[in-house]
């Protein structure tokens, strides 16, 4: 869907040095118009720096940042078609809510009444109708967040940059704002670029995600691909939970790889299931998500493969139960998650059971 839309932002081999420190190491990526794009990575990976090169707050050492096909090298931050929502919100404390939201309209040639209308519309968009006359400093965290959004969106930028906008909010507020941001993005149709260290947030909100480590993009993909087919062991470790079992490659031919994984026996995988072992200590491993392993309750039959297993640990979450189970022939326990369905018991520690998996859910890191 998004591939049909025009390119909004393009990074061409972007490098950034702070003295000797190499903060961005050859970033190449394109972000399309109307996309909700996330830069995800641990702190210090360069994601905020990359965002700030789009805004124009950081220069780059080499390469090019293009917005709408135009090289931004000589365009200062105050003339770029981007607006930013800051991590601290950066609400001007000496101004009212309306003055904050209308700040960017100062040089707008429209009449006072029209501008006031635009401010009220922007406030309405973020659910703050009637808050205009309030003092900005008297707002709650969530309200400041909304004011910051309205203040950026009132200028109708081509790109909205969001620097960890939800990190200061509590969990409930954060989840609510995630949904609101997605809705808002669909409504205004502007390209959103979000910086976050929260993989769950990135998965929930984004059309595409660039996972960054140490100044480089490790993988750029849609959330599902990122989750199901992480490009490397490092990405797999960073996003969600993944089990790893040692594996031995038996043969490779015709786009198929035959491996023998501990406890799983011989499995044949497709080429597209083979990923880089970068970030792994030892040799080849087979990885799989907790929910791709299923406990076979009475009367069920497995899909591709089955094995005996023993429950070692049970963590009950209400809607879900997490089991640490030891599959027959494995050295270590693996994590498995089951949705709790009415009438299905939660297994006790020590229960002997059978588990099943499917070859398609596995990923080989080598």
């Amino acid at each position: 869907m998004s591939s049909e839309k025009p390119v909004m932002i393009e990074f061409r081999d972007v490098h950034k040095y702070y003295g000797d420190y190499h903060a961005l190491r050859g970033i190449n990526a394109t972000i399309r118009a109307g996309e909700f794009f996330s830069l995800l990575g641990p702190s210090g990976c360069g994601k905020t720096t990359l965002l700030r090169t789009i805004a124009g707050f950081e220069g780059i050492s080499s390469g090019a940042v293009m917005i709408g096909g135009e090289d931004m090298a000589d365009v200062p931050a105050n003339q770029r078609p981007t607006n930013m929502v800051f991590q601290s919100y950066a609400i001007f404390p000496h101004l009212t809510v309306a003055e904050n939201v209308g700040f960017g309209l100062r040089k707008d040639p429209r009449s006072k009444a029209e501008k006031a209308k635009a401010v009220e519309d922007a406030l309405g968009m973020v659910g703050l109708t009637g808050y205009g006359a309030r003092a900005a400093h008297a707002l709650s965290g969530g309200q400041r967040q909304r004011v910051a959004l309205a203040r950026a969106l009132i200028l109708k930028p081509k790109v909205l940059l969001l620097d960890e906008p939800l990190s200061a909010l509590d969990k409930k507020m954060r989840e609510q704002m995630q949904v609101e941001l997605i809705k808002l993005q669909r409504q205004v149709g502007i390209t959103f670029i979000l910086v976050t260290h929260d993989q769950e947030e990135a998965l929930v909100m984004s059309d595409r995600i660039a996972v960054m480590f140490e100044g480089q993009i490790a993988q750029l993909a849609d959330p599902e691909t990122l989750y199901r087919r992480p490009a490397s062991r490092k990405v797999a470790d960073f996003i969600g939970t993944m089990n790893f079992l040692p594996a031995k490659i038996l043969s490779e031919a015709g786009g198929k790889v035959e491996v023998e994984a501990q406890g799983f026996g011989k499995i044949t995988l497709n080429d597209d299931q083979v990923m880089s072992a970068e970030g792994s200590a030892g040799g080849a491993t087979v990885g799989f998500r907790p929910e791709t392993l299923t406990i076979l309750f009475d009367g069920q039959t497995g899909s591709d493969f089955e094995s005996e297993a023993v429950v070692e640990e049970v963590v009950y979450y209400g809607d879900m139960t997490y089991y640490d189970i030891k599959i027959k022939g494995c050295d270590t326990a693996v994590r498995l998650s089951m949705r709790n369905v009415f009438g299905r018991p939660v297994l006790d520690i020590g229960t002997k059971t059978r588990v099943a998996w499917s070859a398609g859910a596995l990923v080989l890191f080598r």
């Binding site: 105050n78 003339q79 601290s88 950066a90 000496h94 400093h137 203040r151 950026a152 200028l155």
Partner: protein, 268 residues
Amino acid sequence: MNGGWFRIYAFGFLLFLYAPILLLPIFAFNDGAIVAFPLAGFTTKWFDQLWVEPALHQALKNSLIIAVSASILSTCLGVFAARASTRYNFPLKGGIIGMIMLPLVLPEIILAIALLVVLLGIGIPLSIYTVILGHVLVCTPFSIAVLTAAFQSLDKSLEEAAYDLGETPASTFRLIILPLVTPGIISSLLMTFTISLDEFLMAFFLAGTEPTLPVYIFSQFRFPKSVPVVLALGTVLVVASIILLTIAEYFRRRGIAKMGGKDTGGFL
């Protein structure tokens, strides 16, 4: 009793600090040329004399001109220095800031004499302008100290946000930075004004034939008959400074409340 000795200590401290000042008005209204108990009766004649003393008026005028000029100049310099030291990095920054702050701890008499020698050496006549120069030198470090605190509490992303919203660095400074550091600027103006107004050493060395108020008061103390007049003058100054500080504190608190900041006490 809990903390009994500390109470006595605190009381003694305050007494020592303020009792002498309380004596000022007592003797200023005392109908006697000698400053001693018992009191001789109530009079306002010493205050009347303040009105008919041209030399005093001239000294007061000099002092006000000097204090206003010095406080504005040193606060301007303080704004530049505080801005530079909190927002930019440049080689030898620590050393340069340290050198600027040095007059804070340097014996003032050394500064005064050195300045006098240099001024006379290059042939600049002593006047209220040379006193202003000396006072700017003395006041600027105080100004920087107050303003650095104000600039430091400024979130950098506020500036970036204004810039991001289309403002230039100059208009960002005017619209965002300046209003937010205004309480600091007022504090600085007030403090440097007060420092300059009662500064003696620099004024004594650099004033030439145009004495400031402290220099005038000092010179009057040689004549016993003018001591009550000086006390009356002192009383007026105490009342004036209390009024001034009250007004300043009112505006400072109002500014903080308006921006929702936390009251960190400030200098006043």
